[in-house]
Amino acid sequence: MSDFTFCTAQYDSGDWDSAPLVPANLIDSVARYTSISVAPTGVTVPLGSTELFKYPLAYLTGHLPVRFSELERRNLREYCDRGGMLFVDDHNHDVDGVFHKSATEEIGRAVGPLKELPNSHALYSSFFKFEDGPPATTHELNGWGDNLVHKHLLAVLRGDRIAVLYSSKDYSSEWGYHPDNKRFLSIDNTKFGVNIIVYALTR
């Protein structure tokens, strides 16, 4: 059995590489809390490439408007139909920003409409327990930006499995720091990232 490899999806438009520290930080958390064999470094794979199918979980983020090419759209639809899961995080911490508008539209076109994911979903108990649903980020709490806590994540389901998980909570900023700096946190804020990975690996 090969190791779990964290995959960042690269798309033609926008700034797909806006959160370069997130992969290393989540890899560190998976290794820290679980016995899952994890590759020490992540990979970056074009969304329109067949290489994407080697990594059934992919992370996609950015600040700028997103426009998928036809190839990217087709590839993403096939990827989700086969059982892959795309985790999309809006790196802007505002409401109805350009990334949000364009990304949700593109996801709807490629995979299907996003719907609110209930806060009782198995995602919130796949490893750590998050009884109130998705953990709030500091950007939501300190009023910087939209001054609003997004109560739910959005998702496109295939059967009862999440095919696309969409967050407006800006976890990309929340988790974008060097793993060594976790020691300065009283509560590790990447634990929800571990849940997303464990969920993807088991459901």
């Binding site: 080697k54 059934p56 139909d81 059982g83 490893f127 059967g159 690996l201 088991t202 459901r203």
Partner: protein
């Protein structure tokens, strides 16, 4: 003296008539009956002890009538039969132990065979090719299934749909467990999981209580990490459960004693492409080594044994060398998802625990009526035996008896006796 003699002759004639009617005097003849009247004639045939009986039939008789003729033959009567040419026909049905599996009807004949259930005709099968056989899948037949070829009708006993229990997947959390569960669930299996994530932290799906055949039909071990399930697996298999050992799972200490073979060192795939005729060649393998003497080799890749199976107690163990079968689903061709799903369902159904057949099993249906007729009565007779008239009492018997009785009566009247 005369009266006594006449009386004695009369009694002797009556005794002769009774003996003739009831027994042995009739046993020398031959009788011919038509198949259409067989059911009506059988009671008299059975009591008559005919020396020879010939049945003229156009279609195989009903099983009860055929068995009655066989009994008559065993009792000493020479039973033969003849009739119009009846094509040999056999039709049997099987049902895979998988959710929603169709009824597969296998037909062997030399002619075209039509299939019907209790409601309507289903299909016709041309079984005249070199193989003289064919198969038809029927989704959900309603009522009794039958196959007809000319005048020959074979009943097709349909095995009842076996009640299947859940499949338990055990191993490390990873893509393999996820996609095996997805494939089986999409194929209709109920799946429960115990996937190891961290010490003391298993991901559980389903209420995994007792590991026994009343809860699970099969267990799929995807690697050597069996955790708390390990000790119960061997007992589960011996009690009739099925076990699929994937990749190097056979090396787990809890199942090593019941595995068909050991798992060798991992070897990379022969090919990187899954969309080829044999996509399993694109998977890495843990070759099966040191096969047990009672293990059956199922598949090979060159000199490498890639799957084998054996029985353990009342259960079955299938060992497959393949690693990361999920890559087939994700990276394979256009039909990879369906193919991967079907492949996994076949693996599990090949070992799944089989409950006892439920009441209502139509296994007594006559699946090969011509063959059963030949088995019971022998092949058709080329020459029909001459029929002899039914045995009757001699024509002289009654007049002589009457004369004797009248003479005895007249003698007594003439001498004044009352």
């Amino acid at each position: 003296m005369f009266e006594s003699g006449a009386r004695a002759v009369a009694f002797a004639l009556i005794a002769f008539a009774l003996w003739r009617v009831l027994g042995g005097a009739n046993s020398a003849g031959a009788q011919r009956v038509l198949g259409s009247s067989l059911a009506r004639d059988l009671p008299s045939i059975e009591s008559a002890r005919t020396a020879a009986l010939h049945v003229q039939i156009d279609a195989p008789p009903a099983p009860a009538d055929r068995d009655a003729l066989a009994a008559v033959a065993h009792a000493g009567t020479r039973v033969t039969w003849s009739g119009a040419a009846m094509p040999p026909l056999v039709a049997v049905a099987t049902r895979e132990r998988a959710p929603g599996a169709p009824v597969r009807i296998s037909v062997a004949s030399g002619t075209t065979v039509s299939l019907a259930d209790g409601l309507a005709s289903l299909d016709s099968v041309n079984a005249t090719g070199a193989a003289r056989g064919s198969t038809v899948d029927v989704g959900a037949p309603s009522g009794a299934l039958s196959a007809r070829s000319g005048a020959v009708v074979a009943g097709v006993g349909v095995p009842p749909a076996a009640p299947l229990h859940a499949v338990l997947i055990v191993g490390r959390a990873g893509w393999e467990g996820k996609f095996v569960a997805a494939a089986l669930e999409e194929q209709g299996w109920t799946v429960e999981e115990r996937l190891f994530i961290a010490p003391g932290a298993d991901v559980l799906q389903g209420a995994i209580t007792a590991i026994d055949t009343s809860h699970f039909s099969a267990i799929v071990a995807i690697d050597t990490v069996l955790g708390a399930t390990g000790p119960a697996i061997a007992r589960f298999v011996r009690a009739g459960g099925g076990l699929v050992l994937l990749a190097d799972a056979a090396n787990a200490s809890a199942v090593r004693s019941i595995a068909p073979a050991g798992a060798g060192t991992r070897r990379a795939a022969d090919s990187r492409a899954f969309d080829i005729a044999n996509p399993v060649n694109a998977m890495a393998v843990y070759p099966l080594e040191t096969l047990r003497s009672d293990a059956v080799r199922l598949t090979t890749r060159g000199s490498i044994v890639t799957s084998a199976a054996r029985r353990e107690g009342a259960g079955r163990v299938l060992q497959a060398a393949f690693d990361e079968t999920w890559r087939w689903r994700m990276q394979g061709g256009a039909d990879a998802v369906a193919a991967h799903r079907a492949w996994w369902s076949r693996m599990v159904s090949s070992v799944a625990a089989t409950p006892m057949p439920a009441a209502g099993d139509n296994s007594s249906a006559e699946s090969a009526p011509v063959a059963r007729l030949v088995e019971a009565l022998g092949p058709a007779s080329a020459v029909e035996p001459p029929s002899s008239p039914a045995r009757r009492l001699p024509v002289w018997l009654f007049p002589v008896l009457l004369v004797c009785l009248l003479a005895e009566w007249a003698s007594r009247r003439l001498r004044g006796a009352q």
